[in-house]
């Protein structure tokens, strides 16, 4: 993988080297982020307004992405959908990775019964199928944005924990950790200052991967009708409600699918092509 990276075209800037693929992926992600932030100010129509006489209308002037199964403006719905898909996923992945990584590092540094209890408990959580867990929680508590965020976060904490713990256990056996321990440092210092900087790159990559998983799971839940409730719609919900347009090759079903694909693939490509710091010993 490393050799493959070196041979793809890389440019350097500010002491880092970048690959073209990574830059393009970052631009796509940046674009979707901007859309998510600015959506309410740029959408041509309100997401609930029926503006077309026909349903599954084609792309045409004024309705750039056609209309959906009720004749609502697709462009507005996709732009607003970005807000929910990106926002909910980002919040969930942040909670999941932060809690998972902190718990994982604490377990690795402390060891003993705390490590055992945490690991067994989270392994048990991990054994519950994620979609089923999501379905049960949403069915029981009802669907709202905070419930979705928390459910998605809880589903992905065990994975983040396992990943961070495995990395931290390796670092924990190094002599510099022993040195810090006999210096009398606290657990907080050990995990924050000695371990975290050494595992941050793989943890960020994991963050990106988990973000993709969450986007897909959220889309899945919405597709099943357990995600956001109408008239709000994330991309998964947009695909579901317009699935009837498939025989007509309606843009209403293709565009949100493309949106999901472009975001998840870009995140994947970006974490595979993160800028590398050039460290040249003799320079």
């Amino acid at each position: 993988m490393t050799t493959g990276r070196v041979t793809t075209s890389r440019r350097s800037f500010l002491g880092h080297s970048y690959s073209l693929v990574g830059v393009v992926a970052a631009l796509v992600i940046l674009a979707w982020t901007l859309v998510a932030i600015l959506a309410p100010y740029v959408i041509p129509h309100s997401i609930g307004d029926i503006v077309d006489d026909d349903y599954f209308g084609p792309m045409r002037q004024g309705l750039w992405l056609g209309s959906d199964y009720l004749g609502r403006d697709m462009l507005s719905r996709v732009l607003m959908g970005a807000r929910y898909t990106v926002g909910i996923s980002l919040a969930a992945v942040s909670i999941a990775c932060f809690s998972g990584v902190v718990l994982g590092m604490i377990a690795a540094v402390t060891g003993g019964w705390l490590d055992t209890c945490l690991s067994r408990f989270l392994d048990a959580m991990n054994s519950i199928p994620s979609k089923l867990f999501g379905l049960v929680v949403v069915a029981a508590v009802g669907s709202s944005i905070p419930v979705l965020i928390l459910t998605l976060a809880v589903i992905y904490i065990p994975g983040a924990y396992r990943f961070a713990r495995a990395l931290a256990v390796n670092i924990n056996t190094m002599d510099f950790i022993t040195v810090a321990r006999v210096r009398g440092e606290s657990t907080l210092y050990l995990i924050g200052s000695e371990i975290l900087p050494n595992i941050i790159r793989p943890v960020l990559a994991d963050f990106g991967l988990r973000f993709v998983f969450i986007v897909l799971l959220l889309s899945g839940l919405s597709f099943l009708g357990l995600g956001l409730q109408p008239p709000l719609a994330d991309w998964g919900a947009l695909v579901r409600e317009n699935i009837g347009g498939l025989p007509f090759a309606a843009p209403a079903v293709i565009v949100p699918s493309l949106a999901i694909a472009s975001l998840t693939i870009s995140v994947n490509l970006l974490i595979d092509n993160l800028p590398q710091k050039i460290r040249d010993r003799d320079a």
């Binding site: 190094m174 002599d175 510099f176 022993t178 210096r183 941050i200 010993r281 003799d282």
Partner: protein, 551 residues
């Protein structure tokens, strides 16, 4: 062609991360006659392994042979195709790696691996190969030559494994064998057996050899000629005797000087010598489940007592596995003792570091062998050194920066190094940073666990000199743990010999010539001397060897 190997004007290039090309071998030429053993000696980074590997036409990933000729047995290895090279490797040219333990496949038997080469190159039927292997095992004086082949690599000792990898190399009757630091990872008592075995087999078979090492004393025993490398260039070439007695090049002289016993001044301050800084009584520690008597199943340190006086140094010496590193960890509280008392500076110390007060932790610092793992690779040098300053002394940012400057001066490192990461430092520089961090705490006692073992001879002797100087200036005491007698001898006032977890003897350096305990005798007599006739003339008491040597 008169010589077996003729290397002419060899140049090898390496590519750095940013794509810059660096020439690492700058026009090396050397000859090896049939049956001659030539040693390549130099510090790490001098290109000695790169040159040795190029004799097989091999350049490590990222490296490229750019120009020059490598004639081995009339074939130019530099221009051969990879297929032709593969045919020569293992048959005409064989390689013995530094770490035999890492080069054996743990999941198949030793015999299987030793005769693998004959199978790959279809040299002889397996039955004949097995017989040949047993002959080699016998020639290399391995115990139980008939049966050792059926064992797995983890069932034999490190010294045996190293000899087995030589058997693997020799089974195809090669013309040239490349030894890449084959004894560096071994104890002195084991090293002798391995060296003797290598030497007799090579002489008997008339095989030419290249012996890569940084240890001049080892090389003196086995090589006919020595090639001294530095910075990818040949500094000096000559017969072993000529290099040892009349070295021309300054770098060679430096290497030789590192072997000369350094005079150590007696301590004038007699009153300071009467004060005890650290006393441990009957300390026992180990690993495994604790049994009914409160002692662990495997005792790594068994009822050891020692005293360190203020401003003086104690050396702890012994082979690997004798418990010396565990002793260091017990004193520092990293591995709490099962029984025994530790008294530091007049006060009883808790056995576990976690229960000791911050001042007690500050006054006793430990420096580890591998600076690579002892320094956090994610932090610049400045952060590494200034953490104890902030933690123990609560200095503000400005005061810390000033103190870091002073500490870097103390360990003779340029101040500009503070912004670098550990990966950008050389081995010696890393060990100095490692030491500066210990100094930053203002300790009274520093426990040095094999701190020079991973360093080259010249660098190690510079570090030892530095430690002595700092001791004079700061009134420190050291506990110096090592397997290298010459290092301990150079710096310590008292030397404790450990064997199998127990203290067998404590003597002063001037009485080193007359140890009383049989293990000390064996240990001290096994340290190689620069004299090329030393190994052949060495007579060891066979009873001692069978009792204490791990053959």
């Amino acid at each position: 062609m008169s010589n077996l190997v003729e290397v002419r004007n060899l140049r090898i290039e390496a590519k750095t991360d940013s794509g810059r090309l660096v020439e690492i071998i700058k026009g090396v030429s050397l000859d090896i006659a049939d049956g001659e053993i030539v040693a390549l000696i130099g510090e790490s980074g001098s290109g000695k392994t790169t040159v040795a590997l190029s004799l097989m036409g091999y350049a490590r990933p990222g490296c490229r042979i750019t120009s020059g000729e490598i004639n081995v047995g009339g074939k130019n290895m530099a221009t051969l195709s990879e297929k032709e090279r593969a045919r020569l490797r293992g048959t005409d040219i064989a390689y013995v790696p530094q770490s035999a333990a890492a080069s054996f496949n743990p999941s198949s038997t030793i015999m299987e691996q030793v005769i693998e080469v004959t199978r790959i190159h279809k040299l002889m039927p397996p039955e004949q190969a097995r017989q040949r292997a047993v002959e080699l095992f016998r020639a290399l004086s391995l115990p139980d030559p008939e049966g050792i082949g059926t064992r797995y690599p983890h069932q034999v000792s490190g010294g045996q494994l190293q000899r087995l990898s030589a058997a693997m190399a020799l089974i195809s009757d090669p013309k040239l064998v490349i030894f890449d630091e084959p004894t560096t990872a071994l104890d002195v008592t084991t090293q002798i057996d391995v060296l003797k075995a290598f030497k007799s087999v090579m002489r008997a078979g008339g095989v030419a050899g290249v012996y890569v090492s940084h240890d001049l004393a080892v090389v003196a025993q086995i090589a006919d000629r020595i090639v001294v490398l530095k910075g990818g260039e040949v500094q000096e070439t000559g017969t072993t005797a000529a290099i040892l007695s009349a070295a021309q090049h300054p770098y060679t002289r430096e290497l030789l000087a590192a072997f000369e016993p350094k005079p150590r001044q007696a301590h004038a301050d007699a009153d300071a010598a009467t004060k005890q800084l650290l006393r441990i009584d009957n300390v026992t520690a180990g690993y495994g489940p604790v049994r009914d008597d409160g002692l662990p199943l495997i005792r790594a340190v068994d009822s050891v007592s020692l005293v360190v006086e203020k401003g003086r140094n104690l050396g702890v010496i012994g082979e690997s596995g004798c418990g010396k590193s565990t002793l260091a960890r017990v004193i520092a509280g990293i591995h709490p003792a099962a029984t025994g008392d530790i008294v530091f500076d007049g006060k009883d110390l808790q056995r576990a570091a976690r229960k000791r007060s911050q001042d007690q932790l500050r006054e006793m610092q430990i420096v580890f062998q591998y600076a690579d793992t002892a320094l956090n690779p994610a932090k610049p040098v400045e952060d590494i050194i200034s953490r104890p300053l902030a933690f123990y002394h609560r200095l503000d940012r400005q005061a810390r920066a000033k103190r870091v400057d002073e500490l870097l001066d103390m360990v003779r490192l340029p101040r500009g190094l503070r912004y670098r990461h550990p990966s950008e430092l050389s081995g010696g520089q890393k060990q100095r940073v490692n030491f500066a961090r210990a100094l930053a705490a203002n300790p009274k006692l520093i426990i040095c666990d094999e701190i020079t073992s991973a360093l080259d001879t010249v660098v190690a002797s510079a570090v030892i000199e530095l430690l002595k100087e700092l001791q004079r200036e700061l009134g420190l005491s050291y506990i110096f743990i090592s397997h290298d007698l010459s290092v301990v001898e150079a710096i310590c006032d008292e030397i404790m010999v450990m064997y199998n977890g127990e203290r067998v003897e404590q003597i002063t350096p001037d009485k080193l010539t007359a140890p009383t305990h049989p293990y000390s005798k064996l240990l001290f007599s096994s340290v190689p001397k620069l004299d090329p006739t030393w190994l052949d003339g060495l007579v060891r008491d066979p009873e001692l060897v069978s009792q204490y040597g791990h053959r």
